[in-house]
Symmetry: C2
Subunit: 376 residues, 2 copies
């Protein structure tokens, strides 16, 4: 169930109620590709840093350990010990970005695994079956993610196929949810808007999938090479055609500034590997902009990463200590920094929600949209 609590311009403050708990939106989903957050974080750490939704990757888990293993262990929740909402992607994006020797047909995609070269076929039915095995809260539709820039004709053809795949996803998910053997019989299905950077294709596709009455709608195929202005233009173009009473998810986005822009355009959900990846290289989000902890000037700095931050890292450790851990190649450096950056993102969403509730989102936007992306 999804409730729009209030709006300020296009920005929305909503509640997304699932069998695994209620998500306060706008929300950032924390990426646990292989059922673990990179940087040695466990499901219990996620609770401590304010995570609401864990996102895991269908392709990775299908290849290793195998979704049948996770099914036998009782599903992704029991396996990872995360008891809140989980969104699984469809595997589509990884099939198109990681796997080799792929062939796209109407039935689906055949490719070789990037881990062991094993030949794998994945179509809409297979993607739904794998996600049903994982037992996630929200399954994503199996789609083709076209690289930007894409030729118009190819983007149009791909869009049509993705729409037909979506029909098959819905049929298969309905069937799977009716099985006694399903781990989560109320697994939700989100459709994904595609159409590269062509507004007419994007809008036509959005209108079409909106009619299918899915549990939510994502905008896919952005933040894959196009300038950010193009991304914002596409969001604004399709937003009027997204069902207002359903959650809206902008896939793979992005910087704090990108997220604030997304919220201002009516997006509810986000995910991105950027905060954890940056953290593992010592690039850290703060309330004053982004710092690089490898910088010599932090050698004897007794301050926390962000003096205004209440995360477990900032409450306890100094820049000097964490910088030393990086220089000494101690894994603890990555862990402390991933904790911080993910907390920063989760807390950013909390600040956005608070500003919406206080009617001050415009001011929050003006004060932070550029500041938070600045390298200082």
């Amino acid at each position: 169930m999804f409730k729009v609590l209030l709006k300020q311009g296009n920005a929305r403050r909503c509640e997304f109620i699932t069998v695994h708990g209620t998500i306060q939106t706008p929300a950032f989903m924390n990426v646990a590709t292989s059922a673990a957050i990179k940087g040695a974080l466990s499901a219990f750490d996620l609770k401590e840093i304010g995570c609401q939704v864990m996102l895991s990757n269908t392709y990775h888990l299908h290849v290793r350990p195998g979704d049948d293993v996770i099914y036998d262990m009782g599903g992704l929740h029991k396996f990872s010990r995360w008891d809140g909402p989980i969104l699984t992607d469809s595997g589509g994006f990884q099939v198109f970005s990681l796997a080799s020797l792929r062939k796209i047909k109407e039935e689906g995609v055949s490719f070789n695994s990037h881990v062991d070269g094993r030949h794998i076929f994945m179509g809409p039915e297979e993607s739904m079956q794998i996600q049903s095995h994982l037992g996630s809260t929200v399954a994503m539709a199996f789609d083709e993610c076209v690289e930007n820039p894409a030729k118009y004709e190819y983007a149009k053809e791909s869009c049509g196929r993705t729409e037909r795949w979506l029909e098959r996803c819905k049929t298969e998910m309905t069937r799977l949810n009716s099985l006694d053997s399903a781990i989560n019989k109320k697994q939700l299905l989100f459709g994904i808007n595609q159409g590269a950077t062509y507004e007419d294709l994007r809008i036509a596709n959005m209108k079409k999938i909106a009619e299918m009455n899915l549990d939510g709608y994502a905008i896919g195929g952005l933040a894959v090479g196009e300038p950010k202005e193009v991304m914002y233009k596409i969001i604004s173009a399709v937003e009027p055609y997204m069902p207002a009473e359903k959650p809206r998810y902008l896939m793979g986005v992005g910087t704090p500034g990108n997220i604030i822009e997304g919220v201002s355009r009516g997006v509810d959900l986000f995910d991105c590997v950027m905060p954890s990846r940056n953290a593992r290289h010592g690039h850290l989000n703060t309330s004053k902009g982004i710092i690089n902890l490898n910088n010599q000037k932090y050698e004897r700095d007794p301050l926390p990463i962000d003096p205004e931050c209440d995360c477990p890292t900032c409450k306890n450790f100094s820049r000097s200590y964490i910088r030393h851990l990086f220089k000494s190649k101690e894994m603890l450096a990555m862990r402390l920094c991933v904790m911080h950056n993910l907390y920063f993102y989760n807390n950013l969403m909390l600040r956005i929600r608070n500003s919406l509730e206080e009617g001050s989102f415009d001011r929050f936007y003006n004060e932070n949209v550029e500041l938070l992306d600045k390298r200082i």
Copy 2:
């Protein structure tokens, strides 16, 4: 202050009271080489796994970040956030095992850093000064650790030099503790028994250093290549000459079986990188022996690493999940396994202490000395 609470045979149950807290012995010290436990554990994790003493390496911290940096940050306790007792080694062992182009003279050792090749001189005074900068609870004397097997004449000559170095360590530590600028004005100094595998050299050395009234005594230069029977023989040979009212520390030892043997011969303190290193490779201590979690048979095993273990890892995660994390090269695998193995060691010491208090150490010895080292 050190109190022998009770004895059973040569095994001792003691209390070692320091300015940073009381250590219940026999105890295992947890190795945090560069002021962090390898495997992404923080000082707060150490509390959770029952660690009593953290051990850090003088050589590593001198080379990186520099003991002057740690001194400026308020010492090792403030830097790492571990507030319990810390023992620092002298740097001697690493100078002899890690550094290159080393030259030993009466004054000390000159060598090149293994990190940046920088030329460094370290003698007894320098080692004490660095350890004083770190502000540890217990400083170790600067010694030469001779490789086994060693020639008798060389071992004898080295022993003599190490004894002269010990006199200089004591003088320098007394001076440093009297300075207003000292972080820990009550820093303790342990002497180290050497003499390779020659009982007469070991005993002569032990008698000599026992007269110096140091705060504790270590047996060094064992577990460096000799058979374990030789190690046990040396411990039994020197033990009668170790002051009974002072803590006794067997350096760099060892397996659970080695530790039980050490306790039975009158040793109070141990340290070893083995549990954390083994853990990072999936080799895990259990109450039934050592398991290799990489084994295919654990793929769908819902049990914890050790069903009899109460560590944070075993309370929450399955063998199946942790094995998957190893296969997926997720850092969390190492963290969970290091937590487990160190907890196992800390808990082993607790079980030994309990058996001593209950007068059942002999039974504990018989039941576990071989079992715990067995690969199953």
